[in-house]
């Protein structure tokens, strides 16, 4: 009960950089950015490379590169004989409420920004006869948050400091197998191996009193996914697709150490935790349409349904309450691929545009991300270079969060 006065009270006051009037919605539960929330959106399936990104984030019925098999394994049979590809992305997201920020310890004047960059996909596929195989490695989720570093000085002397940092990522190593059953019907099956990690560190130093509290948490993530898909071409130029990713268990080997260390007290107090956590991630069903309206002009629509109500998250041995509702994502886009001749070389210059709406699973606040997408590229001979971008604006949390992703893909097709 003892209140640590008087130095800490000014410290605590200084922590409040500024407080803007908040929306009238009283958010008692974090919602948008829980500990395990991926950066940008809860709905990270399917993974998208630059071409799909620019095309309204559509991928179920449109085969651009082998990454499409992460969405619909059946598309492997519609890829060229051999494809190779790499993709890198720059991601920027704004975030307001996470960890100790705007939940009671620190307040911020504005939304905070996190920037991430990564080589986030590599893949290859090849067809042989009526079979096709694709292999992809992709960075499908990141859990980073803006780091916090706060120092409080008085008369040139450091009295208090606070540091907090959360990082994390999840990769998939995915193998797809597809077969053309009939000239207009293909099916496919995919298996994914998940691998990742998270780390959270906070350190609070009361230099004036000579003690430090430190909290370290580490998790090794793993799991298996299974998805399947079908692609049907009832008419020339029309493709219909259905894809399913089964619900799966994501495992975490979790270790923690909470310590109190005092210069004058001798041995530190350490509380260790260890658990093997299992979280149930939801099933996802996607449907897609791709229609070649005119030569070189294609229009695609994707609808994804995610069963978030079945989500169960376990963290260090305890199942956490996540008041989630089922959510959906609708994207539509066009791709126009004119051919030009440049210095005697035949080039294809795709232009892409689209819009997407991505509803988030939280019941409170009820929010969604509305985005528009653009993309372009150049294809020459067997080589392709594609650029795509998605610009999303969130509505519902009262914070107008933004999420942006820009991707550059390099591909080879035979």
């Amino acid at each position: 009960m003892r209140i640590i006065r008087p130095v800490l009270l000014p410290c605590l006051s200084a922590l409040a950089l500024a407080v803007l009037p908040l929306s009238v919605r009283a958010q008692l539960v974090q919602g948008q950015y829980e500990t395990e929330a991926p950066v940008g959106s809860w709905n990270t399936f399917p993974f998208l490379t630059a071409p799909s990104l620019g095309r309204g984030e559509t991928s179920y019925a449109f085969a651009s590169d082998s990454s499409c098999t992460l969405a619909n394994p059946a598309l492997a049979a519609r890829l060229p004989k051999l494809t190779l590809g790499l993709n890198g992305s720059l991601r920027r997201a704004t975030i307001f409420r996470f960890g100790p920020v705007n939940t009671g310890v620190f307040t911020s004047r504005e939304n905070l920004t996190i920037d991430l960059s990564a080589l986030d996909w590599g893949g290859l596929s090849f067809r042989f006869g009526r079979w096709a195989v694709a292999f992809n490695a992709a960075l499908i989720e990141t859990y980073d948050r803006p780091p916090i570093a706060f120092d409080y000085y008085e008369e040139g002397r450091l009295l208090y400091s606070y540091k907090w940092n959360q990082t994390g990522l999840l990769r998939t190593f995915h193998l797809s197998l597809a077969r053309e059953l009939r000239p207009n019907l293909t099916v496919g099956l995919g298996l994914g191996l998940l691998s990742g990690s998270t780390g959270l560190t906070s350190e609070e130093s009361y230099a004036y009193a000579g003690y430090v509290i430190r909290d370290d948490r580490d998790q090794d993530l793993s799991g298996f996914t299974m998805n399947a898909g079908i692609l049907w071409e009832p008419l020339a130029g029309l493709r219909l697709a259905l894809a399913v990713r089964a619900p799966f268990i994501a495992k975490a080997a979790s270790e923690s150490a909470l310590s109190y260390t005092s210069v004058s007290a001798g041995a530190p107090i350490v509380i260790r935790g260890s658990s093997r956590d299992k979280s149930r991630l939801p099933a996802t069903v996607g449907a897609g349409v791709c229609w070649s309206a005119l030569p070189r002009l294609q229009w695609a629509v994707d609808l994804t349904f995610i069963d978030w109500m079945s989500y169960r998250f376990q963290y260090f041995g305890e199942t956490k309450t996540r008041a989630f509702r089922n959510s959906w994502k609708l994207g539509t886009g066009v791709e126009y691929e004119p051919e030009i001749s440049l210095w005697g070389a035949a080039l294809t210059l795709p232009f892409r545009a689209g819009i997407v709406y991505d509803s988030q699973p939280m019941r409170d606040p009820r929010s969604g991300v509305l985005g528009w997408t653009v993309g372009t590229g150049v294809a020459w001979n067997h080589l392709r270079l594609d650029l795509g971008a998605s610009f999303g604006s969130e509505n519902g949390s009262g914070r107008k969060l933004r999420t942006t992703r820009t991707a550059l893909a390099l591909g080879y097709r035979l």
Partner: protein
């Protein structure tokens, strides 16, 4: 006959430590007594388990119930578990295993309270007092013979964890619940207490705050009210209605303050729930656990003027300190709550000022911030409980004696006994 085992104390102590971590319902301790001929003779006639004799001391292994047996022999003893027991090996699972180690989270406490009520239905009944801002339940465990009845017996209240970061204040009242239920069939003294009193235990008044302290920020104190200015939390121990907001020294009107008193008295569901419990019962004495500082506080906190019954409360607090000291040698200082600084709107003043009964705040160890402050080692849980147990039992016995002496509900000079109301009992 005394037998001396030729086993290293550390080895046995480590085994006990391991057992303690895997069988949390049966705490075990090592104590030492002076190796006098008189003590040897007394112990020879007792079933107490002698570990070894070393350096003019006899070391005993105490199982649950053995503390009272040792006390009944009149042999002063000192707790040695913290000194002798080594940390359990890393592979040994901690009692609960999560971020909070052996301390109870809300979910873990809920499970344990349900288990106690299920395992001891004849003497324990769990009540759902109400719901917090984030939808968690505040529970009360009633321990008495025929707990489904409102018998004409003295009622005693033990409260824990008004302040989120004070994790050990959940454990001490919870261990009392385990002790009273676990020892009921084995210890006649415990049986007498439970049969002739109604002990109410609310181990966790602030579950929302506790969860935030575990998950996000260890040093969090308040509840999880989203205040109008965007800050979070009301200090529950400044939100009670007696002399609420008497001045800005004993509490703060600023939401960002750690001692923010709230918008109005009992604005918070947690304090409103405790008030509801107090008004529906007829408590004779109440204790609210906090940490740290090792002090025993009584009314008033809101003013430096002594309360009308200050002498009685001071004597009670001094007696408790005397009972605590011999167990581990730790001194708890009895004093009025205003001695350190003024506090208004706190639990002790509310209970004493409104109900007219003694209310005690016990600030558990450590002594100061540099020795852990709000953070106690897991190995301290059982020793802190062990030293507070005699004081807890004293309060129950004191309430029984006064009840018996004064007759049915007569409390001279104090407000009329409130009527007993209905609480929502778990089926």
């Amino acid at each position: 006959m005394i037998t001396v085992r030729r086993a290293a104390a550390a080895l046995i102590a480590s085994a006990l430590g391991f057992l303690a971590s895997t069988t949390p319902l049966v705490p075990q301790d090592i104590v030492s007594v002076r190796a006098t001929e008189e003590n040897k003779a007394k112990l020879a006639r007792s079933p107490l388990d002698l570990l070894m004799e070393w350096d003019h001391k006899l070391y005993l292994v105490l199982a649950p119930g053995d503390v009272s047996r040792l006390q009944s022999l009149g042999i002063p003893f000192a707790l040695e578990t913290g000194r002798l027991a080594v940390s359990p090996p890393p592979s040994a699972a901690l009692s609960q295993g999560g971020l909070n180690g052996a301390y109870h989270s809300y979910a873990e406490l809920e499970r344990e309270l349900l288990d106690i009520a299920r395992d001891y239905p004849a003497i324990a009944k769990l009540f759902r007092l109400g719901t917090t801002l984030e939808g968690r339940t505040i529970y009360a465990l009633k321990i008495s013979d025929r707990p489904e009845l409102n018998e004409d017996e003295p009622e005693v209240l033990f409260l824990g964890c008004h302040h989120a970061r004070e994790w050990i204040t959940v454990e001490v009242p919870l261990l009392l619940a385990r002790y009273l239920t676990g020892e009921y069939d084995r210890d006649e003294n415990v049986r007498n207490r439970v049969d002739s009193a109604e002990v109410w235990i609310v181990p966790l008044v602030n579950p929302d705050g506790l969860e935030y302290s575990i998950q996000t920020y260890r040093w969090w104190r308040k509840n999880r009210r989203l205040n109008d200015d965007g800050s979070y939390g009301v200090d529950l121990n400044r939100n009670y209605g007696y002399q609420w907001g008497a001045d800005d020294e004993g509490s703060s009107p600023a939401p960002v303050s750690d001692v923010f008193r709230g918008r109005e008295p009992f604005s918070e569901p947690e304090t409103s729930i405790v008030r509801g419990l107090c008004e529906s019962r007829d408590f004779r004495v109440a204790v609210s656990y906090h940490n740290f500082s090792q002090i025993i506080l009584y009314a008033w906190g809101w003013t430096r003027r002594p309360s009308p019954n200050a002498a009685e409360y001071a004597a009670m607090a001094a007696r408790m300190a005397d009972l605590i000291r011999p167990v581990n040698g730790r001194d708890y200082t009895p004093e009025p709550a205003c001695s350190l600084y003024l506090t208004n709107g706190d639990t002790v003043d509310y209970i004493t000022g409104t109900l007219g009964i003694p209310a005690i705040t016990i600030e558990l160890p450590p002594l100061d911030i540099v020795h852990g402050g709000f953070m106690n080692a897991e190995s301290d849980i059982s020793s802190v409980f062990a030293e507070n147990l005699p004081a807890m039992l004293y309060l129950i016995d004191d309430a029984r004696q006064k009840f018996a002496a004064s007759g049915d509900g007569e409390r001279p000079g104090r407000p009329a006994k409130p009527k007993k109301g209905k609480l929502d009992a778990l089926k």
